[in-house]
Symmetry: C2
């Protein structure tokens, strides 16, 4: 049986924006004179740590949950996630009164596990090295009739994440800027593909660039190869949120048409960016959420004649990690 | 000889807003669904940590420095400050090419001393317990011909700080809110009096409430007494930015007409607010800058039928203090 992939269209993002508007935060697009001075160009920062649940993930989860047919809502929802999608799904389910079960790695940051429970979800932990989270989620789904809310491989999740990009284009214009290049953190690719789709239809000259941790650069490899390609994923990364070795099918189908390229950053780049965000920007950004900022601060990937956009995608980080990054990189 | 006190008027704030517009950041007014849920009311947060130099102090310093007559500019500026005013003056002087000397307590947070130097100012440290910072500044002034930029007792500094309040009223209305009560941190009273003056003329029904650390509640005591009154200042406070025992003459002259009252918070309240800002709001706020949030979180000073405004006045805090507050208050 051949299953046709439903690819999100720009109209899906516009519909998502209307659908989630009563609950999602329109996060600000911030500008820092210090960051402009340091990078030699104008930088506009989309601050998704201020989104409900502390990351962009609420957008996609909210959009997808609102599309569950009435008859299926009582079965609730299930999701697997290292943390941010978990919180997004838990919070959205809580708002609409659906029971939620979240399958999370036992070694996820405490802030993310605690956050998920605080939104009222049941958390089931698993061993990242020995257990298959998709199988666990499938079993829960079969037993309870819950709807699986995938973290990225779903057109309505991608469309929800794309609302961040849609806001960015409008906000940049209100601030008198036309973004030449935008850096977006990538794991499975939901945010990056949704953002690229939004820019593609409202600001087509903008180059949307994916940013991934070294050895998890599945999107960059896939864009180069023209087909979905797995990254080695052969060493640990401090970006707990960016550990998908391969982009999702749906995100990649969008990305290969709308993304302009992909770059990678090291753990050191990420830690420096977290410290910079705390010390200078005064924004709490988690390592994965700081990947775009890390690419910008490395000064390798932008030119000074263009306005640069950066999506700071999440801020759910333990205070210990903040302290560690700030200790390692004391200079702003 | 009688010297008439020049009291700022609302027109001074409007003029300041126009004057500093090319350099000051219009900081966002943020709303957090989590904070609304916790406090049971709608809360609008003015995020001055995102101001140039990480606090509101740049506003007043920039306004004042732009008013130095041409012939006096080459003498440069001198200021005494525990840190945020230091950075505001240093940055503004740097932008306009005036040499700056800043007299700072030797025990000021490293982030503030380093920040001041990074903006190009010369830093002279003194012993908070044994030396008189005003005398040191006066000596420098006499030797160099520098203009003294006072931290709060100056009508144009007060007017500059008041631009934060002016923005707040407009931004709240754009967000569909009419602020019933606003909590503002107070040390010498520049920000609070400027903010109260701005609200008094654009949103007169709003109650502007000063918030001070326990034992540094000079504004609250002065408002109650009707004359400037010193607080005991007899124990240490973690709010390094809020250690004036007495409000300034100029701020108090405005405050007694426009402020509705003053409340106090403990060190524990401040540490909890810093932790809450990091963990939930994802904003880096220093202890003194979190005084308004601390008053809100104490649940003693607002009622749930009104929109509450909070000025987060600064974010220049050492990572060690962040870690300490988050360890002491692990629950969001």
């Amino acid at each position: 049986m051949t299953q046709t992939l439903r690819i999100p269209e720009f109209a899906d993002i516009e519909a998502a924006a209307r659908r989630i508007a009563p609950w999602a935060v329109v996060t600000p697009l911030l500008e820092s004179p210090a960051l402009n001075a340091r990078t030699g160009t104008r930088v506009l920062l989309k601050a998704e740590p201020f989104q409900r649940t502390g990351s962009f993930k609420f957008r996609g989860a909210c959009n997808r949950i609102l599309l569950i047919p009435e008859a299926e809502r009582k079965g609730g929802v299930v999701a697997f996630s290292s943390g941010n999608h978990a919180q997004g799904v838990a919070a959205a389910a809580g708002i609409f009164g659906l029971p939620a079960t979240i399958v999370m790695p036992a070694d996820a940051p405490r802030a993310k596990i605690d956050g998920t429970r605080a939104y009222g979800a049941k958390v089931v932990t698993y061993d990242r090295k020995r257990e298959d989270r998709e199988a666990i989620a499938r079993k829960i789904q079969e037993e309870s009739g819950a709807t699986l809310i995938k973290p990225f491989d779903d057109p309505f999740v991608v469309a929800g994440q794309g609302t961040a990009g849609l806001e960015m284009v409008r906000q940049a214009r209100e601030a008198g800027g036309e973004i030449g290049r935008v850096f977006v953190p990538v794991s499975g690719g939901g945010l990056a593909s949704g953002t690229a789709l939004a820019f593609g239809h409202t600001s087509p000259a903008t180059k949307v660039i994916s940013v991934e941790p070294d050895s998890y650069e599945g999107m960059a490899l896939s864009l180069a190869a023209g087909v979905r390609t797995a990254a080695p994923a052969d060493k640990p990364s401090m970006a707990d949120a960016l550990q998908s070795p391969t982009p999702g099918e749906v995100p990649f189908a969008v990305a290969k048409q709308y993304l302009s390229g992909g770059v990678t950053v090291t753990d050191e780049d990420l830690a420096r960016a977290v410290s910079y965000a705390i010390r200078t920007l005064k924004i709490v950004v988690e390592p994965g959420g700081a990947a775009g900022l890390a690419a910008l601060l490395s000064s390798k990937y932008h030119n000074k004649s263009e306005v640069v956009g950066v999506v700071l995608s999440g801020g759910n980080v333990d205070p210990e990690t903040i302290a560690d990054c700030c200790t390692r990189f004391p200079q702003p």
